[in-house]
Amino acid sequence: MRNRKLTPYVLVLPAWTWLALFFVIPIGGMLSLSLTTGNVITGFQQTFEVGNYVNAIGTYWEQILRSLFYGGCATLVCIALGYPMAYWIAFKGGAYKTTYLLLLLLPFFVSFVLRTISWRFFLSDNGVALGPLKDLGLLPEGFAVLNTAPAVILGLAYNFLPFMVLPIYAVLERMDPHLVEASHDLYANRFRAFFHVILPVSLPGVFAGVLMTFIPTSADYVNAAVLGGTDNTMIGNVIRTQYLVNNNYPIAASITFVLMGLLLIGIFSYARALGTERVMEVHTS
């Protein structure tokens, strides 16, 4: 086997093996599982039952839409908070850039679930945040955040914020500072320099950030379970219950594929709207 033509294939083999083992086979398994009937006691038979999908959409469309809505809101909150943070660290951070990035990531050394639970205390009806405001009479006694949609969205945004900040920061940090000077030189004030140069050049970072927040937030179930109470269930909670409580694997698998399909459609139309060329291009000076 001293054929030079084979060398590239041999080199790519580990990557393909990895993809096959941890991507193709599990996805294929899930797909086949979503097309079975039966139960955990008598076993599942491969019947190519498309009814699972009809069933999944018919029963859970509300949770699916809510998940996409919460994920979308959390992503918007992440952009609103994350872009200024990334901008500030990249352009004003000076010698302390790494320190600020570390501070941003520091809370994430604590377990995901624990962090979410700590928000329960923070947002509870008479807790750290709302208690004093109610005592001062600034909020009505019955006012609550916990177990509402905003609580879930807030939790999601908090938990995934760094995934928005980091890709935007990476693009801004790498941007040629002369681009901003050139725009000023060509009579743009700070406002126009931002909207005509900095923002468009950083769009690939925003796109990456949106992918990395919208996908996991839409599929999350911890935040809804901990902060959302009973009325704000997301599709992640349904999948978890179907798998782990009801052991209804076919329906859980088909919901998973419905969600995946919707996310893919969403992402591709988003990429098209932004202009694929612009989003995929990595701008360097």
């Binding site: 040629d176 002369h178 681009l179 000077e181 050139a182 725009s183 000023h184 030189d185 060509l186 009579y187 743009a188 004030n189 126009r192 005509h196 140069v197 468009p200 050049v201 769009l203 612009r278 291009e281 701008h283 000076s285």
Partner: protein, 384 residues
């Protein structure tokens, strides 16, 4: 020096006034910053006047303050002290976007998300120029830099030389009072650089706009400029035309930095009819014309002679020229010329360039004893 303008610059009315204000003037400009406990002067007391329509170069080694000086003209830096004027108007402290100068960056700094035409139109759009006029001027400018056929391309799809010309067009289309160029040819290879030098001169002649050109390349500065300022350690060492700066270097730094120069130690021994007799090496005599009044007998100085001004020969020259005897330590044959290193004693070596005018053999071989001579008008005293 009237210039024919193809784009009818906005300043054409002022052009008819008998003595227009200088395009740019710097008065006692300092730029200082703190480094730890000490204050460092990036630019230390620069006074410059750049005339309308001039091709002016700031020449110097890296860290000499030439780029900082240009950035203060552009408005990217504020001087710590001093005044910057554009067309007579004090613009010290005025932001870059309110100054009528445009810059060509060393990295070009083209906007990667816009095509060539959009890049060029950027400044005109900010100035709220009418749409059809923007279109006309962008087309005209792209034709001037010979990139009309690339208008719809992205900068990343262009070669380095083309990107360079887009950067030039993007700045020039605004018809600025002055165009600032920060080492614009630095990233290009030698052939392209030489072609662009000619191109830049052509464009400058055609548009008649003042060019301020920052470079560390003395050849570039000499060939392109009407006048240039040689900078070192934040200050201007010499200001003049390329010929003045090359032929009559004012300081040792300039003599060293521009071209090759022989620096010879000497002591003034006397004055014969306005020509100083300077003793060099081991008792030889060099003649120096028009030396400053401050020089008196016994003064130690350096004199400079360009290698191509020196004659090399076997016969002793007359008393009307500087003459010194030496031994050839090295000859380098270059085809068109031969370079000699000659040891003149006293630990000093002189470089001599001799044009190979005939097909005769070299004047002398290594180890031969020769006479070097040059007229008084070709050596200048440096007291530093």
């Amino acid at each position: 020096m009237a210039s024919i303008s193809t784009t009818a610059p906005a300043t054409s009315d002022e052009g008819t006034t008998p003595s227009p204000e200088p395009a740019i003037s710097l008065e006692g400009v300092y730029k200082s910053f703190r480094s730890g406990s000490e204050t460092v002067h990036a630019v230390a007391g620069v006074d410059l006047t750049i005339e309308q329509g001039e091709f002016f170069s700031l020449l110097g080694p890296s860290g000499c303050g030439k780029t900082t000086t240009m950035r203060m003209i552009a408005g990217f830096e504020d001087p710590t002290e001093g005044t910057v004027r554009l067309g007579g108007r004090d613009v010290t402290g005025v932001a870059a976007n309110h100054r009528d100068v445009n810059m060509v960056f060393q990295s070009y700094a083209l906007f990667p998300h816009m095509n060539v035409a959009e890049n060029v139109a950027f400044g005109l759009k900010r100035k709220k120029v009418a749409k059809d006029e923007i279109k006309r001027r962008v087309t005209e400018m792209l034709d001037l830099v010979e990139l009309g056929h690339r208008a719809k391309h992205r900068p990343t799809q262009l070669s380095g030389g083309q990107q360079q010309r887009v950067a030039l067009a993007r700045a020039l289309v605004n018809q600025p009072a002055a165009l600032l160029l920060d080492e614009p040819l630095g990233a290009l290879d030698l052939k392209l650089r030489q072609a662009m030098q000619v191109e830049l001169k052509r464009i400058q002649r055609e548009v008649g706009i003042t060019f301020v050109y920052v470079t560390h390349d003395q050849g570039e500065a000499l060939t392109m400029s009407d006048r240039l300022a040689v900078m070192n350690n934040g200050g201007v060492e010499q200001l003049g035309t390329p010929a003045e700066v090359y032929e009559r270097p004012a300081t040792r730094f300039v003599a060293d930095f521009i071209g090759t120069s022989n620096l010879i130690r000497g002591v003034v021994r006397g004055d014969v009819g306005g020509v100083w007799r300077v003793e060099i090496a081991d008792g030889a005599t060099a003649l120096v014309a028009g030396s400053p009044d401050t020089v008196t007998s016994g003064t130690h100085l350096h004199l400079t002679v360009r290698p191509e001004k020196i004659r090399i020969g076997v016969d002793r020259p007359g008393d009307d020229v500087s003459a010194v005897q030496g031994v050839i330590t090295e000859t380098v044959y270059l085809g068109a010329a031969t370079h000699y290193q000659v040891d003149i004693g006293g630990g000093e070596e002189i470089t001599v360039y001799q044009q190979n005018v005939s097909d005769s053999a070299p004047v002398a071989e290594r180890g031969a004893t020769v006479w070097l001579s040059w007229p008084a008008r070709h050596s200048y005293p440096l007291l530093a």
